[in-house]
Amino acid sequence: MQQSAETKDIKIIAFGIIAEKIGGRELVCNGISDTGALRQWLANKYPGLNGLKFSIAVNRKLVHENCTFDNESEIALLPPFSGG
């Protein structure tokens, strides 16, 4: 029997000051299937993120409302851009 999406590990990539605060460029979560729940989970697990603004990209697109994803999705945490 196949594992359900909820119990599969989901890989998340982080950048800039967010990567610094969580202590690495990659993290793994489990049992989370939307961006709202992900924000909640991150806030609990990484108090260092408190007060820092970041966006979430799902499959390389910024998402502005709550958005579902699965373990095939590419999830990224993006602090405010500062290129150029």
Binding site: I13, F15, G16, I17, A57, R60, A76, L78, P79, P80, F81, S82, G83, G84
Partner: protein, 146 residues
């Protein structure tokens, strides 16, 4: 004008030689009447604890390249352009060195100038790139675009 995403990143500073080479290559395109170029240069800003020595750039490269391609296509629809090139640094760029090179060309100057100005704003606002300002071996600040 190519219609697939193209890498925009260069390792370290954008050299004046790369810029000269890019200009030279356009001499065969004799329908061009005007080029507009923007160069971003790293400033040695005064910070608490010292001056900015360099900026270290990182990016979500796959997303940045895809987004740069979307912006490129939109700018080509909006302005009558012959060419459009974007080069952005990754890694360390010292104060005084160039970290961004945007290059637009058109038969007429207005399209090249307006497209270049709009591109620079969109690159700063929409590409997932981050700069960390290095002040000393121990001290740095994450840059924020205004």
């Amino acid at each position: 004008m190519s219609h697939k995403p193209k890498n925009i990143f260069v390792s370290g500073a954008v050299s004046p030689a790369l810029i000269a080479d890019s200009i030279q290559k356009h001499s065969t395109k004799t329908d061009i009447g005007g080029h507009s170029i923007f160069l971003g240069q790293v400033r040695a800003d005064e910070k608490n604890g010292g001056m900015v020595q360099a900026i270290e750039y990182t990016a979500y490269e796959e997303m940045a390249v895809q987004k740069a391609f979307e912006i490129r296509e939109e700018i080509f629809v909006k302005y009558q352009l012959t060419c459009l090139h974007i080069h952005h640094s990754l890694g360390e760029v010292k104060a005084g060195e160039v970290c961004l090179f945007v290059f637009t060309s058109s038969p007429h100057r207005k399209a090249a100038i307006d497209a270049c100005a709009e591109l620079v704003e969109r690159i700063k606002n929409e590409l997932p790139i981050w700069g960390r300002e290095i002040i000393s071996a121990e001290k740095y600040e994450w840059k924020e675009n205004k």
